[in-house]
Symmetry: C2
Subunit: 197 residues, 2 copies
DNA sequence: ATTCATACTTGACAATGTAAAGATTCAATG
DNA sequence: CATTGAATCTTTACATTGTCAAGTATGAAT
């Protein structure tokens, strides 16, 4: 049996999970390697056995958050018709960040994500998931292919903007936002109608 | 004549302007008070005569950027019909951040902005400007008042999301983005038509 | 000319990221 | 079982940073 008083066991995982936790509680800027190491019960230089520097830790944390995000988005599609699925996924997109506002800043600030728009959004799994789902719908309704990029961009910008605004609006009214986003992404309003009535 | 070897003259302004410059070049996280002080030719503690701490400097910088942003948005409306003005302002909104991507992160991360959505967007001048312009249009076309908030939110989320995505897409293709946004905000597409053709 | 508030400097300290060197443990080998 | 080597952790050290305290220089008012 390994000696846990010296060897932590799985410091790498602990750092990531405690790191995610601390980011969501106090924000990215309040997270220091030393505090995090202390919270994991190890000395301040121990993390360097697992991450070559702070940025690499942050990259690992980002991956962890991204995985959670992808899971949430995927689950929002289960048992859904593609059209309802799109509405649900948009809602899940916004609510994921409403519930974890610090994730939003952390994720989209590090600029590790680079979207290539000469083709279609790529380079960040949640976006690709999103894009694929919209594509499915457009395909089903025989939407003209040359307009896909434009439509995907529109929908995605809308949802992403809503998330950003929802966070600025504060997180005290999550339920209210869920309703609002669900409403704004409803078939009749967003796909069937237009913004001017 | 004042002695400029000891007294800087206008250190407060210099700090803000050099600060803005450095943020845009290297990002917010790379900006240290000491480096900034050195760049202004003063000792590391000199800034404390003008700002009680780093956060207060950042607040001043944010105000400076916000003023520039408001100017750009206002100018985009000059001589425009309200409808074309909306298109132009949306374009200006996105392009301002495409040209200064670090401003975007800096501004929307500090969370100093809090939008109140029980009423209408307020608490941040550019948003209010934006909201007022949309309101003018809705008023002119006798748009039902109970749908204003929804419509303003939609348009604003779309534009804000576009800005966010444009930044992720990189700033190498500013011209391309200007066209794209102009197109997406065209009357026929965004107000007259809908996303599904 | 004196006084004084303002703007600046110097020196200090704690927190942080990181590097180097050494200690401890685990696993594989003989 | 004893030895060895790699992996993991600790300790020590150092540069950078934000901030404070004490002191110095300047210009304006008296």
């Amino acid at each position: 049996m390994p000696d846990m008083s010296y060897h932590h066991g799985d410091l790498r995982t602990a750092m990531i999970e405690k790191g995610v936790e601390m980011i969501n509680e106090q924000g990215v800027n309040a997270l220091s390697l030393r505090k995090l190491a202390a919270a994991c019960g190890v000395s301040h230089a121990a993390p360097y056995s697992h991450f070559s520097n702070k940025d690499e830790l942050f990259t690992a944390i980002q991956k962890h958050i991204t995985d959670k995000f992808v899971t949430v988005l995927s689950e929002s599609l289960i048992g859904m018709d593609t059209l309802d699925g799109l509405q649900n996924m948009g809602c899940a997109y916004v609510m994921f960040f409403v519930h974890n506002p610090q994730y939003f800043h952390f994720t989209f600030n590090r600029m590790g994500i680079h979207i290539d728009f000469t083709e279609i959004p790529s380079g960040y799994e949640p976006f690709e998931l999103y894009r694929n789902n919209i594509s499915q719908i457009l395909s089903k309704i025989n939407y003209p292919q040359e307009l896909w990029i434009k439509t995907i961009l529109t929908h995605w910008a809308f949802v992403h903007g809503l998330a950003s605004i929802a966070i600025m609006n504060g997180i005290n009214n999550a339920g209210e936002w869920e309703e609002r986003v669900h409403d704004l992404l409803s078939k009749s309003y967003f796909l069937g109608g237009n913004q001017c009535g």
